[in-house]
Amino acid sequence: MFEIFDRLGDYVAYNLFGLDPATPLAAAVQFFVMDISKIFFLLALIVFAIGFFRSMLTPERVRKVVAGRSRKVSYPMAVGLGAVTPFCSCSSVPLFIGFLEAGIPLGVTMSFLIASPMINEVAVVVLAAAVGWKVAMLYVAAGLTVGVVGGLVIEYFKLEKWVEEYVWKIQMGNVAMPAAASGVKQRLQYAWGEVKTIISRIWIYVFIGIGIGAVLHGFVPEAFFLKYASADNIFAVPAAVLVGIPLYSNATGVIPIVEALLAKGVPIGTVLALMMSVAAISLPEMIILRKVLKPQLIATFTGILFIAFIGVGFLFNAILT
């Protein structure tokens, strides 16, 4: 189904540019063209389809649905809805306050915030197209689990004291529900608007990701990864997670790198741990959340995810290689 993008890559690299297929540059160019066309095509298609079919899933609705539920229901719900509810990271703060104000526990709220950037339907489909459904499903399962565990740990240690005091005092007015599009024309318009919004928000991450993926694919020899990133090297997983923490990219943007690393024989656990770390924890996100969380909670939150991602990496490396 996706050979057409492969062939487009071949055509541009070997015919149009006349590069010798045996050279690193040809491999890099081929990878770059193939991934650019494939990822942006899928991205537009999926975002459009989802935008059209879904009656708008917004953080306001999630808040309403999750509030007042028992923990057994609210944790899985928070991560599940976190995965499919789109929101801009600039809305993290009002979202966080809005959840707490509705009486949703801190742990559940954090679960939502952990799962949301890590998993989304677009990234899952693109990941499946790039490296297969098995890896994509493992990624989703691991991401949902980390989301729930992260929230539960925060609940267990009763870390509410590390939320800024003013947050608890805020009273919300009647919550404004963003209007949902109705009718085919409005839905088409909405879906097209979504494609534009999402691509304009994440294209740069995807572009950079594909660039890095192409360089890895073409220029870094397999032997390099065998030497430093094999499953035998116990530092490989922690190093991958550590590298990913300050880096930020949209989940979709990491996929070309995942694709290139897996093709070079880097073990799957190491690669997925890196992807989670890049997508879930980032410096800009921490700076935004600093408005509502004290530094101790940000540090704890990062620490929990750091350990959880390392655990995921080792677990997958152990059972799948």
Partner: protein, 77 residues
């Protein structure tokens, strides 16, 4: 005179929204006031969880995205 408030913590989309309203009003030759509200307690007070939000004469008319040109037109008429 209509008074608009654009709610949001100073993200790019909030500025785009404010510019959109100002520009359209200028084109229509209307005099309006547009104020950017960045204080989180005030934003939440309007019940807005997804920014940018738009408040027209103290009523929330929009939240969660940059409004469309038709929306803006509708508020100004």
């Amino acid at each position: 005179m209509k008074t608009f408030k654009v709610l949001g913590s100073g993200c790019k989309k909030c500025n785009v929204t404010a510019d959109l309203i100002n520009k359209r009003a200028a084109e229509m030759g209307l005099e309006i006031a547009v104020e950017k509200v960045t204080d989180m307690a005030a934003i939440m007070g309007y019940g807005v969880m997804s920014t940018p939000g738009v408040v027209l004469d103290e009523t929330v008319v929009h939240s969660g995205s940059v409004p469309t040109a038709q929306d803006v037109q509708g508020w100004l008429e």
